[in-house]
Amino acid sequence: MSASPLSFLRAGPPPPKVVLLPDGLFFSRAVPITAGATAAEVASQVELALESSSPFPLAQLYYGWYWTPGAEQAFVFASYRRRFTTEQTAAWADAELVIPASAALFGGAVEPATTLLLNSPEGLTAIHWESPAVPSRVVFRPIDPEASDEQRVQLREELIRGLGGSRTVIDLLVPPAADSGQPDREIVLRSGDFVSRLPVTTAAALDVRDKAELAARRSARQRDIVLWRVVLGCAAALCLFLLGEFALLGGNAWHKVRLTQLNARAPTVDKIKQSQELATGIDDLLTKRLLPIEMVTAILGTNGERKPADVVVTRIQSGGTLGLYTVVLELQTTNAAQVPVYRAALQKLPECDSVNLDVLPSQGVQSKYRLTVTFKPGALKPQPA
């Protein structure tokens, strides 16, 4: 039965896959590093040292090294590539790290003159530190699987004696295993109580795989991290939208309450508006009157004497949207020159506020105009009976 999604989440991320190779397949040594060297300089110095000490060219070696910033030596290990079968190397494809088993313990916190003894079915590996930064020697001795305990103890003593100057000896009975820590920063490996922390930059140098292949893996990893950040950004945006939807739901509920309030108040407000209109209407009836005939008389003259004889009024309109003090006359004439003169004469009337003249579409000899005259409020009085 498969694990539930919750247990998958609770379990946390799986530990990084670390392939530990038999120490017996590697030769190793400490090489001096110039003081103040950078990681890139360390790499070239290590490769130079390997080229001079190895019987095989670098391209035919799987190699790595352990160096911590500031250390004046690096511990180098290498193996002839043909010692590994194609099936073995194919299994490395999805591994986070491929290192000799002993290299997994290089990141442990040790005192000077410490020797670590790592037991494995194939043999016994001794890692010796003269100073705590970088190991100085790694020695592997194969053990016959049928060897007795006495033979094993004897081999152990020989190894310790051979390394010389060990003040502390730690026996590790179980092989190192990766821990699910924070694989972006460091890879943690444990063997019993012994903990080895390998920062990612250090671990990258330890990896024995082809360096070009490792560079491609690093760039693929960078790309995947970018994709992961995009996924995170999208997920965050979707969460925000979800929150926004809830906020919108709340907002709509609040809006409904306000609409209910608006609708409940509407009849009362309509009545108040009607009262206002009534007050204005009554006030207009009492104080303001539309005087269309009086306005027309003012424009034309009592007996039409102000209007040029050639000009004929075809329509008069007042009130409504024009207001109380404006009248519009549509004029028609065969003598177009008289209309501007007439307009000028109207502008001089003291009761006129403004006079506008618009030309309308005309046919034949008849010209048509629209004359809009606005009077000053109160300037005209109702005609006596």
């Binding site: 998958f8 990893r221 009534l278 539309l290």
Partner: protein, 178 residues
Amino acid sequence: MIRSFRAFFLSRALREKLLLVGFLGVAVVMWASAYSSRITAFFRAEHNTTVALKDQDYWLTHRAQIESATQKAASQMDPSKTLDPVHLTVVVRQLAGDSGVRINTGRAEPEVSNGQFSINRLPVQVLNTDWHAFAVFYQHLQERAPYLAITELAMQPIPANPSQIMATMTVESFEIRH
């Protein structure tokens, strides 16, 4: 939890990662588009409601003042002289008959009303009539102010007989209901 998801994501094949990024990207774009439309509509509606509520607040705040102004304005009118729609029509037709003007009247209806007070509106069409008779009719209507008022007037001469005119007007009356 995020670390578990991260490890799961990073362990997938590239095409699966790209597919997931694509699906999420499309989802974000679609949701963003739909959400922005809805949030815009919400804020527009909300703004309109706020404006309408503020307008209502204004009217409700000034309610007493407006009703008092209406009562005060109406008190200047003599209730016995005010005209309801029926009386408005009767009076206008009577004044037209007295002036020798032929008219057609439309239906008199309240233009504004609060139940107690109304302003009634009557559309009137003056049929072919000479200027003098129309002036008399106009004068009679003006004499009934402020209980009657002309609020709109349009007139034009009859093309076939320029000594006569035809006109349309709107006459309003004020009514106090008892």
